[in-house]
Amino acid sequence: MNCHEAAPLISAFADGEIDRVQSRDIKTHLEGCPDCGKKHRDILDLRSRLRAEVPYFTAPPALRARIGDLPRTTPTRSADRVERGRWRWLLSGALAGCAATVLAWIVGTSVLTWRANEDFVAQAVQAHVRAALNNHLIEVASSDQHTVKPWLSARLDYSPPVPDLSRDGFTLTGARLEYLAGRSVATLVYRYRDHTIDVFVRPESSGAPPSAPRTVRGFNAAHATGSGMSWLAVSDLNPEALAGFVGRIARGPDQ
């Protein structure tokens, strides 16, 4: 490794964000090159000065008290919150009073920038769209979890649970396999009223899961972990209902 190659990596190396193989090369270079070695020491020096000289502002007690009271003083999940400040415009339109739309909008503005595991979510949405367009949502059609589960187990190196949520109005219609992020992924298909929901189930260890719900190409995606699995639901169902559904499905039948 030469200076030209090392220079852009020194800052990330100081943050421990360079993989092990490259780290070894950079370390060797830093030890042998006074210029790059100094750049590296300067970053570490800057870091210790930042920690020593720059204040970390803690929340004032009055703010903390006010925030602690918020869950009691703020009504949640009702359309009347929309009346606050800049959300007032919603009331004037056709969307007025529609709680689900308001929530979807709130998600759109505040949470959707949170994009964990971008690739997997994007791939999952793409798979959902592709399957729906090709009318290939189901490879094993059954509302019986005891039929779907062995079908999946026989085709995968893991055995995903197939929860029954019919009491909540979510009907299992079947399952299929999707090939996502380099492996076959169990895909459970549920119906809720006229919405189709794909649930992509992977062992929990398959990398960092996506977190907050988000919208990709007009579809909503929500994620939860539980029962040793990582569950990603994709649907045109509204984000709040989808998040609730994926939370319940991940918790399993016992709770």
Partner: protein, 179 residues
């Protein structure tokens, strides 16, 4: 779990981090309180969506978003091009009184001023890294940029700080004053 207990478990533990971020972005204690309050109201609405392990970056994402919404409606936008050329023009040296900067010599406020005067795009990644010790991946999620951009912005943030006129006098003094 009730909304209130989820709020206690997922949001309140990160209130200091939220306030610190808002305070460094807004650079005013009262504005920071408004931003944090707004962020908490938003977080409350979407509590069901988050897992415990992700609560901090999730909440900081909302705080940052709340800050920019506040910023857009309260201040004229700061325009910084995200390319190499931005570095040299990012800190407007003519706006800094050299006498005042010299007065800071030996004063630990100099670094505080230098951080506070970094353009927002660099300030936020630096804070999330050096104060919250978040990973590049988490920062990428919060700021909604690719990991490679986190890497380059952090490198630039550091270069800017090291070249900051707020610090230059001190660095020179340290370099000369050491045995």
């Amino acid at each position: 779990m009730s909304t209130e207990s989820r709020f206690r478990a997922l949001v309140l533990p990160h209130l200091d981090a939220a306030y610190n971020l808002a305070r460094w972005l807004a650079r005013d204690p009262h504005d920071a309180e408004d931003v944090v309050q707004d962020a908490c109201v938003r977080a409350l609405k979407y509590l069901d969506a988050v897992r415990g392990a992700d609560a901090k970056p999730w909440f900081l994402t909302i705080v940052r978003r709340a800050f920019y919404d506040w910023y857009r409606s309260n201040r004229s936008p700061e325009i910084v091009r995200d390319d190499g050329l931005a570095i040299d023009s990012a800190v407007d040296e003519s706006a800094i009184d050299p006498a005042q900067a010299a007065e800071r010599r030996g004063n630990s406020d100099a670094l505080e001023d230098a951080v506070g005067n970094l353009p927002l795009v660099y300030r936020e990644v630096l804070l999330l890294r050096e104060m919250e010790e978040l990973s590049y991946k988490e920062i990428a999620h919060i700021v909604d940029i690719p990991i490679g951009t986190v890497m380059s912005r952090l490198a630039r943030a550091r270069a800017l700080l090291q070249r900051s006129p707020f610090l230059r006098a001190i660095v020179a003094e340290r370099a000369g004053g050491r045995p």
